[in-house]
Amino acid sequence: MTQRATAGPAKGWEYVIGLEVHTELKTRSKLFCGCPNAFGEEPNTSICPVCLGLPGSLPVMNAQAVDFAIRVGLALNATVQRSQFHRKNYFYPDMPKDYQISQYDVPINANGYLELPSGRVIGIERAHLEEDTGKLVHRGGHGRIESAAYSLIDYNRSGVPLLEIVSAPDIRDPEEAKEYVTELRAILVAVGASDGRMEEGSLRVDANVSVRPIGEATFRTRVEIKNLNSLRSLVRALTFEGHRQVQLYENGEAMIQQTRFWDEERSLTGALRLKEEANDYRYFPEPDLPPVAPDVELIEERRTELPELPSARRGSIAMILPELSADLRETIIADACWPYFRSAVDAGITPARAAARCANELTALLPDIGVLAPERFVEVLAIEDRGDLGASQVKILLREAASDPTPVKELVTKLGFTARDEDAMKAMVEEVVIRFPDEWGRYLGGDEKVAGFLLGQVMRQHGRQISGAGARQALLALADEARSGAE
């Protein structure tokens, strides 16, 4: 395990953090019924007897959810195994059956790990499937169930497949927690299991945090912080909680195992309920669902189909562009950029140029233009690589290439960019050479300074959109031809 400088909550103290990340799997339908797994629908429209838990309804396993779970498990280097669903029994109005179908002692994925960009390795204890609950909206009071005048329930989310990924308590500071979630999110998106949108709740984080004096081997009493729904909240909550705990210890006060919530507005964590009062969930095997036994062939098939994961992308970047800054690297390996960079490099585009265009122009453009086929991106860069276009032209061309399906070469002409092709350029230079035979002769004779004059004439004739580099190339080619023709 690579060592890393971590920042403790106070001098002589360190954090011990484990994260439970709930990710919504982007299956077409819900975990146990055929209702669409959609976000943002009118309340209680994506529902049926099964996800409403109506009397007599029965769950049926969604094969796509199992498939996604397997892909995530493999990407997290976990053991994918025959698993069993259990019922987790407790009463809550957002849970239609008053039990949640989840996995308990035999999760589908166990014992994996995740390597952070820093090189540190975080253990993954398990990644198991479970169903999401409905959503409570409390009206009146302070927006909490205890004080609300009334509450509304939207069951659209009920039965949406979740994968709960539980890390080992290997995370040592809030920034590392952020790094872990960022990396995990990148993996989930890369394998196609999740859209990774934290703000829409498709990624929700609970943190278990304790502190201990550096050098102490055992774990101290931990606190669970629920529902951290942004990376910023995660870091701030953990930092606050670390300081709070150290202070308690230093004041000789008692630490109680409890669940706390993060109050973003007041920047503090507050007690939610004492762990001692926690429900006895009375887990028992779900009799309505046979065990999920993914066959070995499917697992191996999925293993070979795994896309290049962030850590592997980092590895390739390190080979191609060892000098690249960490920031640029992370931008480029992100799913939005990576296919473009990969195709460009594979097509022989100068890696530094590919990296720069990905990190700058492309990331700026993508939010507006939506989609751009990587092949078209590569075509544009190839023109630029030949020196036929300037940077500002490239930017315009990229935008046009996204919206206008015209072949890139024709697009260049259409835009009046005189990159055109080499023949056209040669013809333009030739025109000038014929008009200025003396200067041409001096140039052929070895007077390099005349080149500037000749190229200037080309520009004057055809405008500033002409690539200077391209014209120079054409001039050189003509000179070569003239000299070889004379011999």
Binding site: L54, G56, F91
Partner: protein, 478 residues
């Protein structure tokens, strides 16, 4: 004429309908007349809709007159246990907590019967959430045994059993978690069949104990049971525990006989039955022997442990299955200052004492610290029962037992002693634990004229053989 109609089995009814000797409307009228006479005394139904039945009948007569071929249940008046979801009737499981609830969907079996043109007359009484052996635990009414109105019809499918036994319906559907089809069938002198677990879809059956529940028919004859079973069996993608394989053909196999079939009398279950039941069982064994079966005696001591295991597993699953009745979404809602108080008030008022008892038992059995001692041990006993059956089926093809150790008991007789009530199911429970098919067939009456049933058990998926055996008993005792 009406009395004659009520005598017909499904095959006879179809012959008459096809020959235009009777119309479907006339059939429904005959049953309506019988219901008007019998129902006030018996109390088998929770809801009836004879107008709807008659308009379905009219439509079928029209279709028939146009030359259409109707389904296999055409014109057959059906009574459905009120724990099967129906969009046309409220579905209450005989509980206050679901009073008036009309499901937005039909149970798979209800759709399958409708597909075959079965005509549903109404929904029948049961022990609340199918928890009981006498139908006395219904929140709405007590159903009487047609043979003695002072006695129970058995349970929990007592309403369907009483309806068929008193000829208010030709076919009843019930559910069997620990004997709830077979025991009332025995106590009312009709045929009751519990298929192999997974043979019939549970989709739309209000769950009592999910790993034990199966739906099956209650009918006047083995032949009718076979036909109804063929209509409702078969894979259902909406039930993940539903068997994938094609279901067996039963009707055609009935007359294949039992020559050379080895039948074992389970002596340790016979010993606990009353003398008249023991005698009836021997008559049934004789009938099988006359038909060429090879009769032997076998003792399967492990079956005695079944009762205890059942009363851990079934309440454990029930405690979870019945959690959803919390007043939030449907059914009864009692006011409360907080959500928790509302849920407590609703469940306190909505559930009857036996349901509460089982929720408490099950919750206890699953609780931290008790789970291993109760739930895990019970599952081990369940495997023990399974392997005891497996061993028995190495030497015999079918087993023969009493269905119930006694004939119908008096209303109120066992209400004060739940354990005594639980014992009613001692012969039927093992097949639910093992998931095997089982069938109760009438075998005469005791000196008081109360019906006696004997039970045939077979290995998993042996329905065909089971029906051949039952048919031989029925024929032999006729």
């Amino acid at each position: 004429m009406n009395d004659e109609i009520l005598d017909w089995g499904i095959a006879e009814l179809h012959r008459r309908l096809e020959a235009r000797e009777v119309s479907t409307v006339e059939v429904i009228d005959a049953y309506q007349e019988q219901i008007e006479i019998q129902e006030p005394e018996i109390g088998a139904f929770l809801t009836l809709d004879l107008d709807a039945a008659r308009s379905t009948a009219t439509a079928q007569d029209t279709r028939r007159s146009r030359g259409e071929t109707l389904g296999r249940m055409a014109g057959v008046p059906v009574a459905l246990k009120d724990n099967l979801c129906t969009t046309a009737f409220p579905t209450t499981a005989a509980s206050r907590i679901l009073e008036g609830w009309i499901p937005p969907y039909n149970a798979t079996v209800v759709d399958r019967l409708a597909d075959q043109d079965g005509i549903v007359l109404g929904k029948t009484n049961l022990d609340e959430f199918a928890m009981g052996s006498s139908t006395e635990n219904s929140a709405y009414k007590i159903t009487k045994n047609p043979y003695d109105l002072e006695r129970v019809p058995g349970g929990s499918s007592g309403g369907s059993a009483a309806a068929v036994a008193s000829r208010m319906a030709l076919v009843g559907l019930g559910s069997d978690t620990g004997g709830s089809i077979r025991q009332p069938a025995a106590l009312t002198g009709i045929v009751g069949f519990k298929p192999t677990y997974g043979r019939v879809s549970r989709y739309g059956l209000l769950a009592f104990a999910s790993s034990l529940d199966q739906i099956g028919p209650l009918t006047a004859s083995v032949e009718d049971a076979a036909l109804v079973a063929e209509c409702i069996m078969g894979h259902d993608p909406r039930d993940a525990t539903s068997l994938q394989e094609a279901s067996p053909l039963l009707l055609g196999a009935l007359t294949e006989g039992v020559r050379g079939i080895r039948v074992g009398i389970v002596t340790n279950l016979v010993e606990i039955a009353s003398p008249s039941i023991q005698a009836a069982l021997l008559r049934a064994a004789d009938a099988l022997a006359q038909a060429g079966a090879l009769i032997s005696e076998i003792s399967i001591d492990e079956l005695a442990f079944g009762l205890a295991a059942y009363y851990v597993v079934a309440p454990a699953e029930a405690s979870s299955n019945l959690a959803r009745y919390d007043g939030v979404r449907y059914g009864l809602r009692e006011p409360g200052a907080t959500v928790e108080e509302m849920m407590i008030a609703t469940r306190t008022k909505g559930f009857g004492p036996e349901v509460k008892r089982r929720i408490m038992l099950g919750t206890y059995a699953l609780s931290a610290g008790y789970y291993d001692a109760f739930y895990v041990t019970a599952q081990r006993v369940r495997s023990l029962v399974r392997s005891a059956f497996d061993r028995a089926y190495e030497s015999v093809d079918l087993l023969l037992t009493p269905t119930s150790p006694t004939t119908a008991f008096r209303i109120g007789e066992r209400s004060a002693d739940p354990v005594e009530m639980y014992r009613s199911d001692i012969c039927t429970i093992p097949s639910n634990l093992s998931g095997d098919p089982a069938l109760s067939v009438p075998a005469g009456a005791d000196p008081d004229g109360l019906p006696i049933g004997v039970q045939l058990l077979g290995p998993p998926r042996s329905e065909q053989l089971l029906f051949r055996g039952a048919y031989a008993v029925e024929e032999g005792l006729r």
